[in-house]
């Protein structure tokens, strides 16, 4: 799957989970840039990402995510 397609799907997930249809994702985006992104909504977002992309994360992998770019990268790694 191409990065562009991953970003498109992630955007839909982020808009739904964080209740903001205006979100535009970029690699440097972090939880500090999104109003409702906290530890709880983060877990909901991760669960949705697992469901949509058909992948499973390990907790340690999640701990290393620093921004949206890292999330895209790990999804691409798991899909390849």
């Amino acid at each position: 799957m191409e990065k562009r397609e991953i970003i498109e799907r992630l955007t839909a997930i982020f808009c739904e989970i964080f209740s903001d249809n205006t979100l535009v994702l970029n690699d440097d985006m972090t939880a500090a840039d999104v109003e409702n992104w906290d530890s709880l909504t983060h877990m909901m977002m991760i669960t949705k990402v697992e469901e949509v992309f058909g992948i499973r994360f390990k907790l340690r992998e999640l701990n290393k995510l620093k921004n949206v770019g890292d999330l895209c990268q790990i999804i691409m790694d798991k899909l390849s």
Binding site: N36, D38, S39, L40, T41, M43, L59, R60, N63, K64
Partner: protein, 481 residues
């Protein structure tokens, strides 16, 4: 040696001057001195346990280096697990072993099995719940790549034993080590703000908490002779006592940290203005809830994520029981945690758990009616929990509850000593100041007051309250944890 004692004032004056004058130029010398001062502070309170603290520190220091050097994931994972087992084991042995032995012996006795188990004569090290949490979070954060393992044993040992925080928190995460590593410059503004925060802490501790304690202790020690209204009132004052005692101590610890150039994590954010119980726990003992969220709730929530809201409720219930048990080895604390966990259930089911509503005010600056209702309901629920928290046994808590409603509510009046009007006034002053200062770090940040004269009137007003009405008894509720 508590903060509000003459020995501490003498100790800190020496520490402050040596730290900022002869040792100002070299951070390493400052750190060695801070470590020696921290060990002296700890040893002054409990010298027999000082070797334990030192050995535990050394073991976790090497575990951190071991995890950092591990080339294989398996070895790093093994060392991480060893660290967690050792840390939890330390806590279990010193704090919970006798509790488990007695609980199981009682359980077997009830089902007709006689055991010869007897409890051990174990002395619990002061601050064990606080320093073991720092040790455990260090190995976990190193393993998770959150922090690099430090090679400097002095910096690590200072982080574990840092004297403002070792006896009663706040529990700073391992990222605090970077503050110890950095060169610190004396910052006049920060130091003065530290003094203001210490003063505010002294007011909460000595004027509010310790005056509440006089009434609360009297009622709780003779609760069978009290009217329902007196018991209910004591439960309310007890909530204020626990808050003012612990947040007062935290303010003093943070203030002392500021005087030494450190930024210690915030521990309370006006919990009595919380709109629901979830909001309350975001504002109460924040360093503990943050620790437990990171290392207990998040892994559990991750494991249970496929079960949706049911999984989240399970994670919250386990999490809150751990929070309860952290406070002490007694079934009352288990029930206290479970009670709070159950209060989250309607919030999770309704979705209110995820919302972080901002406080709304009306035209005259008071809380909007709906928010006031939320605050009062939350406060009442928390005060009910405080009865369980304060009781010596579940039976006593149940009897306390039943007496509130079964004994004539107004039959005897509010306690034999009458309504403690002065204490109520102190609580009201604290609440008014905290409401006005709710967006500030503490009650005496008076940046908005332009007149120097008015600011000093406020400072000296609070100071005179401390000297006139303070109860100097040198005990803190949270020291027992």
């Amino acid at each position: 040696m508590v903060f509000n004692s003459t020995p501490f004032v003498l100790f800190f004056v020496v520490v402050f001057f040596v730290y900022w004058f002869p040792l100002k130029r070299t951070t390493k010398a400052q750190n060695v001195f801070l470590l020696v001062a921290s060990y002296f502070f700890y040893g002054y309170a409990d010298w027999k346990m000082l070797p334990l603290l030192m050995v535990a520190t050394a073991v976790f220091y090497f575990l951190g280096i071991g995890i950092g050097r591990s080339e294989s994931e398996k070895k790093a994972s093994w060392l991480r697990t060893l660290g967690v087992v050792l840390g939890v084991g330390l806590l279990l042995y010193f704090k919970y072993l006798n509790f488990f032995i007695e609980s199981f012996a009682n359980l077997f006795e009830r089902i007709g099995l006689h055991t010869n188990w007897h409890s051990f004569n174990i002395i619990m090290p002061l601050g064990v719940s606080f320093f073991t949490f720092r040790l455990i979070s260090y190995v976990l954060d190193v393993y998770n790549g959150e922090v690099e393992p430090t090679r400097d044993v002095v910096e690590f040992a200072t982080y574990i034993a840092f004297f403002p925080c070792i006896l009663s928190g706040p529990i700073d995460k391992p990222k605090f080590i970077s503050q110890i590593h950095q060169k610190r410059e004396f910052n006049y503004e920060q130091a003065v703000d530290g003094l203001r925060q210490i003063l505010w802490g002294l007011f909460k501790k000595l004027v509010v908490a310790d005056n509440c304690a006089v009434y609360v202790d009297q009622v709780f020690s003779s609760y069978t002779d009290q009217s329902g209204s007196a018991l209910f009132f004591a439960a309310i004052l007890c909530s204020f006592q626990v808050y003012a005692d612990f947040s007062g101590y935290s303010d003093m610890a943070i203030g002392v940290g500021k005087l030494l150039g450190f930024s210690i994590t915030r521990n309370f954010n006006n919990p009595f203005f919380a709109l629901n119980v979830a909001d309350f726990w975001r504002r109460w003992h924040m360093s503990l809830t943050s620790w437990i969220t990171d290392y207990v709730f998040t892994p559990l929530n991750f494991q249970f994520r496929r079960w949706g809201k049911v999984g989240m409720i399970m994670a919250i219930l386990i999490n809150m029981v751990v929070v309860g048990l952290w406070h002490g080895a007694n079934w009352t604390f288990v029930v206290f945690g479970l009670y709070h966990g159950l209060l989250f259930v309607p919030l999770v089911l309704s979705g209110a758990f995820m919302k972080k509503d901002q406080l709304r005010t009306n035209r005259i600056g008071l809380p909007a009616l709906k928010d006031l209702g939320g605050m009062l309901l939350t406060f009442t629920l928390v005060s009910i929990g405080v009865i369980i928290f304060r009781a010596e046994s579940i039976g006593q808590a149940l009897e306390f509850f039943s007496r509130i409603f079964s004994v004539g509510f107004f039959s005897v009046g509010i306690a034999g000593a009458g309504i403690p009007r002065r204490t109520c006034l102190f609580v009201a002053i604290m609440l008014v100041i905290e409401w006005m200062q709710r967006n500030q770090e503490h009650g005496l940040v008076l940046k908005g007051v332009k007149s120097v004269f008015v600011r000093y009137v406020c400072y000296f007003g609070i100071l005179s309250f401390v000297f006139m009405y303070g109860v100097f008894n040198e005990t803190f509720v949270y020291f027992q944890f």
